[in-house]
């Protein structure tokens, strides 16, 4: 076994010299390392857009009902009151609550045979997001942190993993687990930019520049004979922060056109979808949008009308926009929950937690367009064909973004396989 004595984190491999070269190449000022970031170089954007893989996760918090969305069973004892509607893929029907999404079905694929056998919100979310069953002794990183570590360009000024949700912002270090807080999600709560992104009012750009010059000079002296991977990383993070401060409007959805804002809708989720598009376009690697809430133990149908009524159009608009802009082929889109909901309708018109037979929607990144993988029985109570769980899905996500989930994480000081060795990718979904 090799000795894991060196840190293989990509930022550590990056030499100061290359940073400076990039900076000069971009013709920027002395302390601006503009060459680091592709998002401020439109000329490069198209190229990178084609090469760089991105991930867009919709997390339907609480547990989206598969019967009211991807796997309707109309006119059965479990089907509920809604009808199934045809989609842009002949023969594939989804619930009538998703009319706009139905028109995008030729770009999407459905995995209808998900059996995760985990009916607890917390554990279900961990399983779905990390591809590993929740274990008290070991937490694994969430998909967004994994791609932030493995797929995000190490030199980007943008954070690798941004989570957009209603409510508060902050950094969720738990997401990154042993990968470290650098790969944690930065939460954009209700569209607010990350904490301290905006320069305080009493600090002029000129004063900021001056103090930064002093810092750089001090560092130059200190590191002349002390340069380490750690000092490189520390310095690079200041460069990154300074760049991002200059481009704080990356997080400002109001900079999008009025027409687009109208297309996405004036509610929070519409704005969040438009912000997700903006961030992905600027080169951010993983965006997770949480839509809440679907945990409808009572009046499931009313609540799904309300929530999916909000979800459908902005989601479909975003899929369409990504496709129109040529980004869908390099962007993996996932619609997931902790679990699905019980086929049995309870006496409060609710559906409870159900992980035995539910659906996940995927799109983009070369996944089979319009595919339906897996099948449930007539009233949706069991998987009858191509049963998969979160481990298979996780391996599939990784393969889609060009990463081998059966390998160990690079740069860790112990051997940890990226995906659960007990799972494997859903090959027929991969092109």
């Amino acid at each position: 076994m090799e000795r894991y004595l060196t840190c293989g984190a990509p930022e550590h491999c990056l030499s100061r010299r290359s940073l400076l070269a990039g900076m000069l190449g971009a013709g920027a000022g002395l302390t601006h390392v503009a060459g680091l970031s592709h998002f401020i170089q439109p000329a490069l954007a198209a190229d990178l857009a084609a090469q760089q893989k991105r991930v867009l996760i919709f997390f339907m918090a609480g547990g989206l009902s598969q019967l009211e969305s991807w796997d309707p069973k109309p006119n059965t004892d479990t089907g509920g009151p809604f009808r199934a509607i045809p989609t842009s893929v002949p023969g594939t029907h989804i619930c009538e609550l998703l009319p706009f999404t139905a028109q995008q079905m030729h770009r999407l694929c459905l995995v209808r045979g998900v059996n995760t056998a985990e009916d607890d919100h917390g554990k279900g979310a961990v399983f779905m997001e990390t591809g590993r069953r929740d274990s008290p002794a070991q937490r694994y990183p969430a998909l967004g942190s994994v791609v932030s570590r493995l797929v995000a360009p190490p030199t980007s000024a943008l954070p690798g993993y941004v989570h957009i949700q209603p409510g508060g912002g902050g950094v969720n270090k738990a997401d990154a687990a042993f990968l470290g807080p650098k790969f944690a999600s930065i939460t954009i709560g209700n569209g607010q930019p990350p904490a301290n992104l905006l320069r305080p009012g009493d600090l002029t750009p000129a004063a900021d520049q001056q103090r930064n010059d002093v810092r750089l000079k001090a560092n130059q002296r200190f590191t002349a004979r002390r340069r380490t991977a750690e000092t490189e990383a520390y310095g690079a993070s200041y460069d990154q922060a300074r760049q991002l401060v200059e481009r704080a409007d990356v997080f400002d959805v109001t900079k999008e056109s009025a027409q687009d804002q109208e297309r996405y809708g004036s509610h929070d989720f519409g704005r969040h979808c438009l912000l997700a598009r903006r961030l992905l376009e600027q080169g951010l690697t993983c965006v997770k949008v949480t839509h809440t809430n679907y945990d409808s133990h009572s009046e499931n149908f009313d609540f799904h009308i309300e929530q999916l009524g909000e979800f459908d159009r902005p989601f479909a608009t975003l899929i369409d926009d990504l496709a129109q802009r040529g980004m869908l082929d390099s962007t993996l889109v996932i619609v997931m929950s902790e679990f699905g909901r019980t086929p049995k309708i309870n006496h409060l018109f609710g559906r409870d937690h159900w992980s035995k037979a539910w659906s996940v929607m995927l799109a983009g990144c070369g996944l089979q367009k319009g595919a339906v993988i897996g099948k449930t029985n007539e009233n949706g109570t069991a998987v009858v064909d191509r049963e998969v769980d979160a481990r298979h899905l996780f391996h599939t996500y990784l393969r889609a973004v060009g990463t081998d989930g059966t390998a160990n994480y690079p740069g860790l000081n112990r051997p940890i396989p990226i995906g659960d060795p007990a799972g494997e990718a859903i090959e027929e979904l991969l092109a």
């Binding site: 002794a137 990350p194 320069r199 001056q210």
Partner: protein, 590 residues
């Protein structure tokens, strides 16, 4: 409770005998080269029986140099590190200057940087033994106990939130232990024996209680934190590559805990204790072996034998039988065997783990690194030295203060962090140059408070009531902001250094730091604003923030800046303070 020296000696001798070891594993054998064994015995006997060394030497027929036990440990450290460097032809870095040593040892032993007065006094001190005097003074300060409390809080709890034991009593427990210099084995014995029922020792039960009493988590963390072995990957199968990482060993540790559970009395729901049943067995099978059958595992430490257990007739297993709202007490407690067998000087893994952890605390990385990856395939950089440190620490009665003192006095610790001229790089595991140790979240916050003079403002405000405790109370109120941003994720081992966007934005634009460098009566910027002579301003600025005098070049630049910015001199001074706080030199303990 302390070990009786004599019996410890006998046990050690028995353990050295491979026939006593029984299933003697590679790790045990390879860790005991003959020469070390003799050295260890000599050290042991030198301490316990002053008249014995001659006997040992005469008993050893091979010609050998004078007993190394005569030399202080810090000299042995330097000998071994030096010999390794010499064998590789590596020239180590020069000795650290006084200022570099000063800042380093303050941060390591007190968690913060020196005050202006302390820095000046040390730099002006002409005594040839001033470094030793400083080490001794710091080790005996209340700040030392609090710093060790912070360090071991993170080591033992890994920033888990308090659930059943408050953070404050836990910290007090740890601080008292380090203030009293409680030996490590005694501290661990207390922690592993605590169940939360004894009010005096309830804080010690936090290790168990705030991990929810979860057996797998406890098995893993006891292995990692007290034995230096992360057995996680042995949960499902024998380690495919490491011969001594066996599934049976993971389950042997688990078996100490699998009967334990958190018991919540109905009448007193907050008085959760760690209780145990008399039944419940552990069995495992490898996921790699098709159709594997379950193998039972009884409690045992990795590499050791399963102990025999008393058997009771059915119905006779309990001293207090389980009943509604009654905490059961088994006649034979598996868990209570752990504090008996684990924290012992004879336990090689136990003593090597703590020696390695304390070494890493001072030297920036372990002799085995990562600290919880002690196994055959990840050998120490200096195997004999690690053996020596473990053995000597055990012989010293696990006296943490004395051990840290030896490390601090070593030349290895006191090297400069600057590479020698002409050398482009040195491997960290050679210990040829002082490492750059990232400040912990708390160190960074405390150092920034001291640097900006906020701590001085508190000192002045406390007047006659000033002492470590009253000052801490004031200062600590400022720390949550820093800790929230700079600390690692709860439940994860401390990671390799990372600098996050959140942290850098906090430093660059955050209100906390900005308020500290805005003028207020008595803080650094305020004091500097009242000094007219630029050279004097520069001197105080560098001493306060970086614990050193400015170089001539730095002083000249600073002076030129102040002269050029006579119009907005205070703003210029603030910019410099910020720049030094945000510099690499401040971020790392170098």
């Amino acid at each position: 409770m302390r070990h009786n020296g004599g019996s410890a000696y006998l046990t050690l001798v028995r353990l050295r005998d491979p026939t006593v070891l029984g299933r003697g594993r590679t790790a045990m054998k390879s860790s005991l080269p003959a020469q070390n064994r003799v050295r260890w015995l000599a050290a042991m006997l030198a301490r316990l029986l002053p008249f014995v060394p001659a006997l040992v030497c005469s008993a050893d027929e091979a010609p050998r140099p004078a007993p190394p036990a005569a030399a202080p440990l810090h000299e042995l450290v330097d000998q071994q590190i030096g010999a390794a460097l010499a064998s590789k032809g590596i020239a180590p870095a020069a000795r650290a200057g006084d200022a570099e040593f000063l800042r380093r040892v303050y941060l390591d032993l007190t968690g913060s940087i020196p005050t202006l007065g302390e820095a000046k006094a040390f730099l002006d001190d002409k005594s040839p033994i001033k470094r030793q005097q400083l080490v001794d003074r710091l080790l005996n300060s209340p700040e030392y106990a609090r710093q060790m409390q912070r360090v071991f809080d993170v080591v033992l709890m890994e920033r888990r939130p308090a659930q059943h034991v408050g953070q404050a009593p836990w910290e007090e427990y740890l601080r008292n232990a380090f203030a009293a210099n409680k030996p490590w084995d005694a501290l661990v014995r207390e922690i592993l024996a605590a169940d939360g029922a004894d009010p005096n020792l309830r804080p010690a039960a936090r290790f168990y209680l705030d991990r929810g009493g979860e057996p797998n988590l406890l098995a893993r963390d006891v292995g990692r934190l007290f034995l230096g072995r992360d057995m996680q990957c042995a949960q499902c199968h024998d380690h495919p590559l490491v011969a001594t990482y066996l599934q049976t060993d993971y389950y042997g540790l688990l078996a100490f805990f699998n009967r334990s559970f958190l018991f919540t009395p109905k009448t007193e729901p907050k008085a959760v204790v760690f209780a145990e049943k008399a039944e419940g067995d552990v069995a495992f099978k490898s996921v790699f072996v098709a159709n594997a059958t379950d193998q039972p595992a009884r409690p045992h430490l990795p590499g050791e034998k399963e102990a025999d257990e008393p058997q009771f007739e059915k119905g006779q297993e309990y001293a207090v039988a389980p009943a509604d709202d009654v905490r059961p007490i088994p006649k034979y407690s598996r868990r209570s065997q752990l504090p008996v067998v684990l924290p012992r000087g004879e336990n090689v893994a136990f003593r090597r783990n703590i020696a390695n952890r304390l070494w890493a605390l001072m030297m920036g990385r372990g002799l085995v690194h990562p600290l919880d990856m002690q196994h055959d395939a990840n050998p120490p950089s200096h195997p004999a030295l690690l053996d020596l440190l473990g053995e000597r620490f055990a012989v010293m009665g696990f006296d943490i203060k004395a051990f840290l003192r030896e490390l601090a006095l070593s030349e290895t610790y006191q090297r400069s962090s600057e590479l020698p001229p002409g050398v482009e790089a040195l491997a960290a595991e050679a210990f040829a140059v002082a490492p750059l140790k990232p400040l912990s979240a708390e160190q960074l916050g405390l150092a920034a408070l001291q640097a900006t003079g906020i701590t001085d403002v508190y000192r002045a405000s406390l007047g006659p009531t000033l002492n470590e405790a009253t000052l801490h109370e004031k200062v600590a109120a400022n720390l949550p902001g820093f800790v929230g941003v700079f600390a690692g994720q709860a439940g994860q081992p401390e990671q390799d250094f990372q600098s996050t966007l959140e942290q850098t934005l906090f430093m660059a634009n955050g209100g906390v730091l900005r308020s500290w460098i805005a003028p207020q009566a008595g803080n650094l910027v305020d004091r500097l604003n009242r000094v007219t002579e630029p050279a004097a301003v520069a001197e105080q600025l560098y001493l306060c923030v970086l614990s050193r005098l400015p170089t001539a070049e730095e002083a000249a630049e600073f002076t030129a800046c102040l002269q050029a910015r006579a119009q907005d001199r205070p703003a210029a001074i603030q910019e410099w303070i910020w720049a030094l706080l945000a510099s690499d030199e401040f971020r790392f303990n170098h």
